[in-house]
Amino acid sequence: MFIKRIKSILAWLNKFFARRFEKIIEINRRYERPRIAMTPMTRIALLLLRIYLLLLVAILFYKFFTIIMGK
């Protein structure tokens, strides 16, 4: 009875996540063609900015953990 319950919960979770992934695939398909065509330079600049900002956030986390460890 208990195993049956676990199996039905797992099946529901499986269905739940499969539906979410379907949704994400559907969203990606809906927005496949952006309305504004970015030039390659703009795309590269935006990507570099993102990577740079994430690097700064990584340094912040490093500082955060050094303060925690130091306490």
């Binding site: 927005y31 952006p34 970015m38 993102r50 912040l60 490093y62």
Partner: protein
């Protein structure tokens, strides 16, 4: 008779304008006042205690910065009738859309944690256990959103915004020296020189004045309220009044701690409240009530910003005008983020104060990415028509982006090589 009828006509005109403004006002005032959230109150309290009145000039500079950024979201929301997340997906595709959405989700969740930290810390001064605070706040926020009307939610939020002004009488109660405020606070100065702590506090102050969630929140709020292009001028005034209120409150908090606790090493607004209670119990109590109110306002807006953004992208019904049965996922997401953030606060031994300050800095570090997309969208002539950004608006917006990136870089360098700034 002529004069009388002219006076009456002018009176009717002004009364009509005020009535119209009151109808349209809301998103700007709420987002700006909520901007003084728990993390913000902590940042300002620490700023005042560490630097006295010496950084008031910097807070004044943040007024036009906040207005410039938020005014753009008003135009974008009123013209496109779409939230910010959906606008990015539609304009730039799913790669940039997901980047922005996940960014927002993470930063919003972290910021929501800081709101609960502030609220639990504020009420623990009055001996209310954290778990009781979290449960009561969740119930209150649930009541606000589940009644199924944006207008009701907005009016309740504005009442909480008005409570945020409690810091103004508090500042008068500590009898600050006006001449000291004017001489030390209004002339730009770098007390103690450039160092890691100074950069950190500058960034925390910027991060608490403009944050990514504010861009998403105000745009979605403008859409949910149903504002049109013809409402843009009044919405701009709404945003300007909100920006003035937020900076005014920030300055008064700095005055409170800068007067009574200058040179004292405080780490949080809750700690400042407890110390101030020893000086004047009303001042301490008002600071604590203000801190709770700030956390509540922040939590109200940030949780909605995330729910609106995810609802727009996932295609859920996502309006406050929908009841729970009509928009189940919108409200489920809302409550899950609230309860999740509340649960983190209850983790024993969590460095809550450190988390509060760092989250402000993380938010401002990621802000340029959100700002760049906002500016790019506002430069799309096909989308914005006559409401496209002017050259001056682009100049100031990009200047803000560049300055934030430079400051973030300086902080990172000072964090890695502190000897460079001694």
């Amino acid at each position: 008779m002529n004069i009388l009828s002219r006076l009456f006509y002018n009176y009717r005109r002004v009364a009509k304008a005020i009535k119209l403004f009151v109808l349209i006002a809301g998103p700007g005032i709420i987002v700006m006042v909520a901007d003084n959230d728990a993390g913000g109150i902590t940042t300002y309290a620490v700023t005042g205690s560490q630097y006295g009145y010496n950084l008031i000039w910097f807070l004044l500079l943040l007024l036009p910065v906040a207005y410039i950024v938020q005014e753009m979201t008003v135009r974008l929301g009123a013209v496109t009738k779409r939230g910010h997340a959906e606008a990015i997906f539609d304009a730039y595709g799913s790669f940039w859309g997901w980047f922005s959405l996940i960014d927002l989700g993470i930063v919003d969740f972290l910021t929501l944690i800081t709101e609960f930290i502030g609220m639990t810390a504020a009420l623990s001064i009055f001996h209310v256990p954290p778990v009781v605070t979290i449960i009561c706040v969740t119930i209150l926020m649930g009541f606000m959103v589940l009644q199924g009307r944006y207008w009701t939610w907005e009016k309740l939020a504005i009442i909480f915004c008005a409570l945020n002004l409690i810091y103004i009488p508090t500042a008068f109660m500590v009898n600050p020296s006006i001449s000291d405020i004017l001489s030390n606070g209004l002339i730009p100065n770098i007390p103690g020189g450039f160092n890691n702590e100074f950069f950190f506090l500058l960034m925390a102050n910027i991060g608490t004045t403009i944050a990514p969630w504010m861009i998403f929140f105000q745009q979605s709020s403008v859409v949910d309220k149903g504002l049109q292009e013809k409402d843009i001028p009044w919405s701009k005034l709404d945003t300007l009044i909100g920006a003035c209120a937020t900076v005014l409150v920030a300055i008064f908090i700095v005055i409170v701690t800068g007067t009574v606790l200058k040179g004292v090493n405080i780490e949080s607004a809750a700690q400042a409240s407890q110390m101030l209670m020893g000086v004047n119990k009303y001042v301490g109590a008002f600071l604590a009530i203000g801190l709770f109110d700030a956390g509540l306002l922040g939590a109200i807006c940030i949780s909605l910003a995330s729910s609106w953004a995810f609802g727009e992208v996932f295609g859920w019904a996502h309006s406050l005008n929908n009841k729970a049965r009509e928009a189940p996922w919108f409200y489920v997401f809302y409550f899950i983020t609230l309860l999740g953030a509340g649960a983190v606060v209850l983790i024993p031994g969590a460095p809550l104060v450190l988390i509060t300050l760092f989250v402000q800095v993380i938010a401002v570090t990621l802000l340029p990415a959100a700002l760049v997309f906002l500016i790019l969208l506002l430069n799309d002539g096909n989308l914005m028509g006559k409401y496209k950004n002017t050259s001056w608006q682009n100049f100031w917006s990009f200047t803000i982006v560049i300055l934030i990136v430079m400051l973030s870089t300086l902080y990172a360098i000072s964090a890695l090589f502190p000897e460079l700034f001694k």
